[in-house]
Symmetry: C2
Subunit: 340 residues, 2 copies
């Protein structure tokens, strides 16, 4: 495998990105080459700082510009011709790399890949898939934020992409698919979800009908489909609720000496619970539906998260997820050209 890594994207870039990339070259036998894309001098300085000679499998590709986390994606990609994320995407387009990983500005990654790689045959828009923990087993939420105002057809495409990802990368056999709505019946939902329900029923998917917010962390289905506005709200609201509960726990658990003693006895337990919600083990969120493989890491990606992101990128290549998405899409949805 040959993977391009945006060395400059993320809150702790390039340090943690480089560290994770080095770890990947050490532990992933299938990995032939990592292209570390970014400011050569900075990347080399980090290698020195880490006290490790640059592994032979790592090649630095110089890119002089960086897209900031708060920059407007479309403008940044248009203006910064030599950005690290743009150059990483170009490596995939040229076939030099087979996939890319970035922990930088998500919007910029979506814009650059959509612009340069275009979408897969019969897929209108790429979508972000995120793996979420539940009481039992993780599920794939798609779209987690790439598209607002989706049509029923687009939601159906997301279901195809999420199914393939769940099957190939999470190893779930014949994954169940739920459509996020506000009631169990086919008649409950907004215009797009009601129409999507009818479409999904006819497709070769293990479609289980609507799921509600209530069901999400019960592990109701392996894939949960929604538009990117709703997906973004779900992700961020869940994080916010978890933060509030954690805040209340801390507040109440430190109110008097007896409680402080109790909390001390539970210190390890609390740490283990926090880990359950830790996204770094799943290796970031793939942007599915683009003609190439792009894994997007959390802005605060640790070296371990970067390592996992590179691992998932390799697996996505070896499992040919894009070929399988095209295949399953063809089996379930007419091509847009035929429709028009």
């Amino acid at each position: 495998m040959r993977i391009a890594v945006d060395a400059m994207g993320g809150d702790n870039a390039p340090r943690d990105i480089v560290a994770g990339a080095i770890q990947a070259t050490e532990q992933l036998p299938d990995l032939e080459r990592i292209y570390l894309v970014g400011r050569q001098a900075e990347i080399e300085a980090v290698c020195q700082e880490l006290g490790k000679p640059r592994p032979a499998k790592i090649e630095i590709v110089d890119a002089s510009e960086v897209v900031g986390m708060d920059e407007s994606p479309a403008t940044a990609i248009r203006r910064k011709k030599d950005s690290s994320v743009g150059r990483a995407v170009a490596l995939v387009k040229d076939g030099q790399a087979q996939a890319l990983f970035t922990a930088g500005n998500t919007g910029a990654a979506v814009a650059a890949t959509t612009l340069k790689l275009r979408t897969l045959e019969g897929i209108a828009r790429p979508a972000i898939a995120t793996v979420m923990p539940t009481k039992l087993k993780p599920f794939v939420l798609i779209d987690a934020g790439a598209n607002t105002d989706c049509t029923a057809r687009q939601l159906a495409e997301f279901a195809v992409m999420g199914s393939v990802y769940s099957q190939e990368i999470l190893g779930i056999d014949n994954p169940t698919v739920g459509l996020l709505s506000i009631g169990g019946e086919a008649t409950k939902g907004n215009e797009a979800t009601k129409e999507a329900y009818a479409l999904l029923q006819k497709m070769p998917l293990n479609f289980k009908g609507n799921v509600e917010g209530h069901d999400l962390y019960e592990g109701a289905t392996d894939v949960v489909v929604c538009d990117g506005f709703v997906g973004n709200v779900v992700l961020k609201t869940s994080e916010s609720a978890a933060h509030a509960i954690s805040h209340w726990l801390k507040e109440e658990f430190t109110r008097n000496p007896i409680r402080i003693l109790g909390a001390l006895l539970l210190k390890r337990a609390i740490g283990q619970i926090k880990q359950k919600g830790d996204p770094s083990v799943y290796g970031g969120a793939p942007l599915l539906g683009v003609n190439g493989i792009c894994i997007i890491g959390h802005g605060s990606s640790s070296p371990f998260a970067v390592f996992n992101g590179v691992r998932v990128a390799c697996e996505s290549v070896s499992h040919d997820i894009n070929g399988k998405i095209i295949e399953l899409r063809k089996a379930g949805l007419t091509s847009p050209e035929t429709e028009a």
Copy 2:
């Protein structure tokens, strides 16, 4: 005040509803009369069972039918002419009662009030407002589930209704209003929210721009506006996340004797945290925008929740929230007739 109470709606009806209504007559001095609407014999049996003589302020209004929690709202309201919720709404329409409280089928309450009472002047659709806890202070989420596919104009109407409720019932002076979206900038969101942003900026509200899922439980604004699809997902996802965390806490806290001891020392603390998320203190969710006052309780309303629902119904009458909604709407939005 004269309040109609749907005695048959809710998981623990009529018992907990009657108990809450009796408590209200004992503790709310402004309350002249409660019409307990439902099957007379059952209600009288509950009064006996509770060991209390029926207070003079309570009058039973016989209604032979009950809308079940899982019935299709529109069909149920059309077919069951003598339903308790329908009769309670009719009491408000006739002016015999000034407000109603129901813990029954939410959709049926929305359908019955919209059909019989119609909406306030210049308000296209009624919306459910729910009071949610945060780290600091509660906020009003509107719409929590009455409408999907809302226009920008409707979102702006929700902002007006939520502001009035926050000011009059929660006592927040000049409440801040946020529009739930997926980024802080005015250009972030879906078509409806982007258009609503522009509308809200021009209105006499304390509009603070977009809020994100992240901000919700930080107490970013006093009112958070969204369509009912998103609002329903936010509510139910938050509950689901809280359940999952509670499940993990229980699992980890009982894993060995030392942890069990720790958990015992924290038992009261954990109980206090659970209370923070308890919606019963806020007295249910008002359905705002109908030409009458309707407070909708949670299906599992306890007597205390019913008492609080009746209290909020009385306050909504005495503060003339509907008059104030009409006034603020006129100050901020043209009447739909002028527009057309």
